[in-house]
Amino acid sequence: MSNWLDTFWAIYSNLVLTIGINALLALSIWLTLSCGLLAMANAAFMGLGAYTASLLTMDAGAPFPVAVLAGVALPTVVALIVGLPTLRLSGVYLAMATLGFGEVVRIALLNADSLTGGALGLSGIPQLTQWWHVVLAILVVLLVLRQLRRSRIGRALEAIKEDQVAASLMGVDVMAHKMLAFALGAAIAGLAGALSAHLSSYIGPGEFGFDRGVDILTMTIFGGIGGLTGPVLGAAVITVLPELLRSFRDYRTMINGAILVLVVLFLPKGLWDPARMRSWFGRRPSYAPTIVADSPSAPEPR
């Protein structure tokens, strides 16, 4: 049995850990979507985290935890700066502004030859990421997001998603909450970037552009934006699919686009939708998040 496990791990460890990294990315964009922000900047934040952490371990000889921390901190700070003007926008305009920002980052990484290696990227990054780093990261992020959802902040984010004018008139500081979601999403994306860079030992500017952004969005929307299970499930499926279907790999972006359209048309809440599953299996649907105080032993619906 353990022999089979060893063989499996020898072949598929990279795939499994990539699923983990993608799960982090999907969760990061889930957070911004949870307050109604279609922010397409998380691929850029991942890139910033990846480059920051890699340069610290390679050039400054920094210990891994410090590098990862910096890989989380830098995108967060950038998000706070960029968020202030852009988060006043909504809907498509926000998506455009964040995509623009993503392009700025990609081009900056491409042209800062001396620092980032330009088009050639950084290679020879020490492979410091252990499997348990990824698992720990996912568990911590899931815990924080789960607790966040149940707090007044999570409730405020959902209210903002539903109707931000009404939310602000109920005393919710809409801008502050949007900034929080945006910056925390950037932090998670940066974490994913830092871990990913030390997994694959090579990063290049082309990996953190529009294609990656659409990839992350597809995973989350396909998996389901209702709760935390959806993004993780979506990440697993969308990561594994190219491995199963050779042709998928060649037409990845096109197929991502098709998946997005189909999901929006037929499964608007994504694959993992507890309400729809409950109605299929006959139980009375109740698809609102419960407050802790609803009942002490009520199972979390999502």
């Binding site: 607790q147 966040l148 539903e162 004018v165 009404a166 109920m170 005393g171 698809y287 105080a293 609803d294």
Partner: protein, 251 residues
């Protein structure tokens, strides 16, 4: 309590409000009436900070409201309901009302991150208060229903409960009985009457004359952006300018 002094609002070339001045005394039920398009909801939007006046002053308890963001104005004690209902459709009734309590749930990050007793206690008290407010408006026992499933009248009452949750001193009600039949109107009138007796100041916009005359202690009438009359219901009822605005003048 609330005072508007020579308030005007211009949208580009369109002068929507001009020289509007009146005061809502504490504990009063104050009505704002006028034909459609007269500028009534604009007054509400100015008071709650959604838009800024072009001129004039708005004070609440002596504090100026101009330039303050909506959530700050709510924290000063003003809550409102909306002409076109804006409940959070996919949340339960309880959740809707608890959103109104947002400012008053003052637990910090460690509290909710580790589900500490302070957080759990605050959430439990919030849920209890929500159920209490829902029963005030006649929605008791339905706290776990989803807001989208409520009837029109139910959603209006939910908005009222949610506004009460912000613990305001003054409620702004924008056409609270629009679209209701007379039975529902009487019920809501009784609910608002009970709320007033608890000490809230109520400032409302309405078209239903019976409702307004029956509930309000003072009424201001607005037409084409100007206040044309202000006073107790009897005075308003017989004011020639008001009658002309609503019924027209004999040629």
């Amino acid at each position: 309590m609330l005072a508007l002094d020579k308030v005007s609002k211009r949208f580009g070339g369109l002068l929507v409000l001009e020289d509007v001045s009146f005061a809502v005394p504490k504990g009063c039920v104050f009505g704002l009436i006028g034909p459609n398009g007269a500028g009534k909801t604009t007054v509400f939007n100015l008071v709650t900070g959604l838009i800024a006046p072009t001129g004039g002053a708005i004070t609440f308890g002596g504090v100026s409201l101009i330039g303050k963001k909506p959530h700050r104005i709510t924290r000063l004690g003003i809550a409102r309901t909306f002409q076109n209902i804006r409940v959070f459709k996919e949340m339960t009734l309880r959740e809707n009302v608890v959103v109104g309590m947002h400012t008053h749930l003052d637990y910090g990050v460690p509290q909710w991150l580790f589900s500490l007793p302070g957080y759990r206690g605050a959430e439990r008290r919030a849920a209890e208060r929500a159920e209490e407010l829902l029963s005030w408006v006649g929605l008791g026992g339905r706290a776990s229903d989803v807001a989208d499933n409520l009837s029109y009248g139910g959603q209006r009452r939910l908005e009222l409960a949610r506004a009460l949750a912000t613990e305001p001193s003054m409620l702004l009600l924008d056409e609270p009985v629009a679209g209701m039949n007379s039975g529902e109107k009487d019920e809501l009138m009784a609910v608002i009457g009970r709320i007033v007796s608890r000490g809230y100041t109520v400032f409302l916009i309405e078209h239903d004359m019976g409702f307004v005359m029956g509930l309000c202690e003072r009424i201001a009438v607005i037409n084409f952006g100007r206040v044309i009359a202000e006073g107790p219901p009897e005075a308003i009822r017989s004011d020639p300018a008001v009658i002309e605005a609503y019924l027209g003048r004999e040629e």
